[in-house]
């Protein structure tokens, strides 16, 4: 009977997995269907852009600067050994624009904005605000979820671009001003090897995909959180953890597709 028990557990888990996938996909469809209704309510979107985008700006720019400076310092130490320190700009720009910018911004965004979204929506549910809206014939998905989702999707590529740009400036500060890499070589090597479509645009697409993933997971977990204090806290944790896994997994796939050759 032990064997049957473990089979039952496996069945239970896969059933739950399928149910989650189905429910979240249906939820995404509901959100997408609700986007046109946003047109008349730009103020709602603006409000969410403020809490999702503007308030994440500080941590993104500080982290970007730190990552860029550390990257510049460490890469310089390695490159100077093979007297290739002129390629510093090239190395830093490619790794930031292609990988570190979108991925780190996505992780920070999930921690700073995604968790806040889940907690907010979860608490709205726990305090019956969502149910109250339904009573007043206001669709909570259109009123609460859609603006938050769209704000997340718009903010993420902007934040990732800021992260990469600040990071490159940080490595410029350390590499050129502090360690004495030639300024002309730093920028010209970078420009010669970073491709607008192949690298910059693919980085933007990556961050857009991560933005959709994080915003989707955050609003889904919030909307489907158990309506208790513990349920909300668990949902918040799940948002951060699932977002991190989704970003890292998706990054692997996207990198394979974009920079595979």
């Amino acid at each position: 009977m032990k064997i049957l028990d473990s089979f039952q557990r496996l069945g239970q888990n896969s059933e739950r997995l399928f149910a989650h996938t189905g429910a979240s996909s249906l939820f995404l469809l509901r959100i997408l269907a609700g986007i046109p209704s946003l047109c008349g309510h730009m103020r709602l979107l603006l409000q969410q852009m403020y809490s999702v985008g503007v308030q994440t700006l500080t941590i993104i720019s500080v982290s970007g600067l730190a990552v860029g400076m550390v990257l510049g310092l460490q890469m310089y130490n390695i490159l100077v050994d093979i007297s290739a320190e002129n390629t510093l700009g090239h190395v830093v720009a490619l790794s930031l624009v292609r990988e570190l910018g979108p991925v780190l911004t996505g992780l920070l965004f999930a921690g700073r904005a995604g968790s806040a979204l889940t907690a907010e929506i979860g608490l709205m549910k726990a305090t019956d605000q969502l149910a109250g809206m339904e009573m007043m014939a206001v669709d909570p998905v259109k009123r609460v979820i859609v603006p938050r989702f769209v704000a997340g999707v718009i903010s993420m590529p902007l934040l990732a671009a800021i992260f990469s740009a600040v990071g490159i400036l940080g490595s410029y500060l350390v590499g050129v001003d502090l360690l004495g890499v030639d300024e002309g070589a730093f920028w010209s090597r970078m420009q010669a090897h970073v491709d607008l479509y192949g690298d910059v645009l693919n980085g933007v697409i990556k961050s857009l995909v991560f933005g959709i993933l994080v915003a989707w997971i955050a609003v889904y977990e919030g909307y489907h959180a158990e309506a208790t204090t513990e349920g909300v806290s668990q949902a918040t944790t799940r948002t951060v953890v699932h977002s991190a896994f989704a970003i890292l997994g998706m990054d692997f796939i996207l990198t394979g597709l974009m920079f595979g050759d």
Binding site: S155, L158, V200
Partner: protein, 154 residues
């Protein structure tokens, strides 16, 4: 009301900074100022050995980039590599006896195609092929030859 206005201004600044960052990435960091494709014409060349040449490697005359390699394929009938490159439209005065060489930028740098213009009065046009090419220098073969010639010295 005042609060809303401040918030709107903050969002506006955020979006402006984001767009500025995107603009900086595309203008200052990437090669938008260089030739990226689009207008131009196509030339091809056959090499015995292309060494480390890659798609998107530059094509240069006198060190100035005038185009990029768009495709590298292999002709299995004559065992040669066929390199296709796209040249900027305004560089339309490449003589048809130009030699296409594969050079290396620096000792460890990337490889590129360097064109040595000939003296002909007819110019290459879209789809033409270079009549004369020299292959990439393979360092191992060079070293091998040097050692071999040392051995044969009396």
């Amino acid at each position: 009301m005042h609060d809303t206005r401040n918030r709107e201004i903050a969002v506006g600044i955020f979006v402006a900074i984001g767009l500025a960052a995107l603009l900086m990435l595309s203008l200052q960091v990437s090669n938008i100022s260089n030739f990226t494709g689009g207008e131009g014409y196509t030339l091809s060349a056959r090499f015995d050995n292309i060494g480390g040449l890659k798609v998107k490697s530059p094509v240069r005359i006198g060190g100035v980039r005038i185009g990029r390699i768009t495709d590298i394929s292999y002709d299995e009938k004559i065992y040669e590599a066929v390199v296709t490159m796209r040249i900027q439209q305004q560089q339309n005065r490449i003589p048809d006896d130009t030699i296409a060489n594969i050079y290396t930028a620096g000792l460890l740098g990337e490889q590129y195609i360097g064109l040595e213009p000939g003296g002909s009065e007819t110019f290459l046009t879209n789809g033409d092929e270079f009549s004369e090419t020299t292959s990439a220098i393979v360092l191992e073969r060079l070293i091998g030859e040097a050692i071999f010639s040392k051995k044969n010295d009396p």
